[in-house]
């Protein structure tokens, strides 16, 4: 089989639309997954509402213990049965966000728990509430430690959007697949698809590195 470079230049713009969708899905997932994960992580360390703590713990346990593909199918087939029908696009965002939230919960929790207990004791002794202690004292200090694992999580999320091809979301991987099925070009398509993912992940990693060095110096 020959690798035809001229095809790459032809395919790149055709796959661009898929790339844009992948970026959109990633951005939405990160916005939802990151914010809810941080909130859940703060909730976990706060130890309030024991009954809800168990639920959150169970949620994290399930999301980390089952494959994302299974979770996508579950959201896709279960939500309509519960009376909630989402488009494949939003089904995808929901599944990916839930998945990411579970990981971010643990990243947040472990980062805050690694902060020296003296910080919390000092905060309490000057009269801060538990929420103020978490929000003003512990989370800002934990943020620096959260950057590397969150960068990993971000990169995973971007790559994970490819799994949404199974529920017919026309993101980058699905877009590539459909070209393959129509035109029987394999290598060139996957080459472009791979390069697109690499570029995006590289961009994210670079930004994260700058953030880690400059902002959290």
């Amino acid at each position: 089989m020959e690798f035809d470079f001229s095809l790459v230049w032809e395919l790149a713009p055709k796959l661009f639309e898929g790339l844009v969708l992948t970026l959109q899905l990633s951005a939405l997932t990160v916005a939802l997954g990151l914010s809810s994960g941080i909130v859940l992580g703060l909730f976990r360390v706060s130890r309030v509402l024991p009954a809800v703590q168990v639920l959150v713990k169970g949620f994290v346990y399930f999301m980390r213990g089952t494959p994302l593909l299974v979770q996508i199918y579950m959201v896709f087939f279960l939500l309509p049965r519960l009376g909630l029908t989402l488009s494949p696009y939003w089904t995808g965002v929901a599944a990916l966000s839930l998945h990411m939230a579970a990981y971010v919960t643990e990243i947040t929790r472990s980062a805050i728990e690694s902060i020296h207990p003296g910080q919390g004791e000092a905060a309490v002794s000057v009269g801060l509430t538990r929420f103020q202690t978490l929000w003003i004292v512990q989370l800002p200090q934990a943020a620096k430690q959260m950057v590397p694992p969150l960068t990993n999580e971000l990169a995973s999320t971007i790559k994970n959007t490819s799994l949404l091809s199974v529920i017919a979301v026309f993101e980058l991987t699905k877009a590539g697949n459909s070209i393959i099925q129509r035109e029987f070009i394999f290598f060139e398509v996957f080459f472009v698809v791979a390069v697109y993912y690499l570029i995006v992940v590289q961009l994210v990693t670079t930004v994260a590195n700058v953030l880690e060095r400059r902002v959290f110096a």
Partner: protein, 253 residues
């Protein structure tokens, strides 16, 4: 003298191991009570029980005539319980062995944080007051430094200023110089001495025996979770009554 802080029957165990047997202690206005004794004798636990950083298993803590509600210190405390405990905690200025300055904030921000967030003082006013307190402890030129950019002695003086910013009625010192070298120890002790000169009420645990003898109005010697003997410094240091006190004193150079 008016009682500021009263501990009645305070005890505490950790995993079934008693750290503090039931003890009583009254700190009156103007008192400087210094707790001495071996490591593990319960000095820290007594101090931490005073402001509920450690919730005592038995007994009551009364501050300025009002009993502290231990429920406020628990994770499940209601908002009202937590707030009422917080209002009492800020009347007790806690200074820790390891300083515990907020690592991500400057010296000035460390001091101004609680006045702003708890007392709702406006930012300019809180910062001005913080600068004044920094000046009092001789650190006004370090106002914008992070804890990691300061020496241990400087950090501890900032920590003292942070506690003073809330205008406490009693200061609690938990071995404030135990992680400092002799020179830094002296600079922190000078700051503490200046407070006693102004009549600040204190409860302090320390291993600085000469300093204790000099500033204390009363010494309490602790052993195995009990206050074994208490009295005027000259009595405890020079003519202790109890065997274990004598034994401890014989170790002092």
């Amino acid at each position: 003298m008016k009682a500021v802080l009263e501990l009645a029957g305070i005890s505490k165990s950790y995993n079934g191991v008693p750290a503090l047997h039931p003890n009583d202690m009254t700190v009156s206005s103007g008192d400087v009570i210094v707790l001495i004794g071996a490591s593990g004798s319960g000095k820290s636990t007594l101090l931490r029980c005073s402001n509920m950083l450690a919730v005592p298993d038995t007994g009551t803590v009364t501050l300025e005539g009002v009993a502290l509600d231990p429920e406020g210190a628990r994770p499940r405390a209601s908002r009202r319980q937590a707030a009422s405990l917080a209002r009492q905690r800020i009347r007790m200025g806690m200074v820790f062995q390891s300083f515990n300055l907020f690592e991500h904030l400057s010296a000035m921000e460390n001091i101004a944080l609680s006045p702003r967030k708890v007392l709702k003082v406006d930012k300019t006013e809180a910062n001005d007051h913080a600068l004044k307190l920094l000046k009092d402890v001789g650190l006004e030129e370090h106002a914008d430094k992070r804890p990691s950019q300061m020496s241990g002695g400087q950090q501890q003086r900032v920590a003292i200023a942070r506690a003073l910013a809330l205008e406490p009625s009693v200061m609690l010192f938990d071995e404030p110089t135990s992680s400092l070298d002799p020179r830094l120890t002296q600079e922190v002790l000078r700051t503490i001495r200046a407070l006693t000169d102004n009549g600040m009420t204190m409860l302090m645990a320390t291993h600085e025996m000469r300093f204790a003898e000099e500033i204390a109005t009363e010494i309490a010697y602790m052993d195995a979770g009990r206050i074994v003997e208490r009295g005027k410094p000259e009595q405890i240091f020079h003519s202790p009554a109890e065997e274990s006190t004598k034994d401890f004193m014989s170790c002092i150079l």
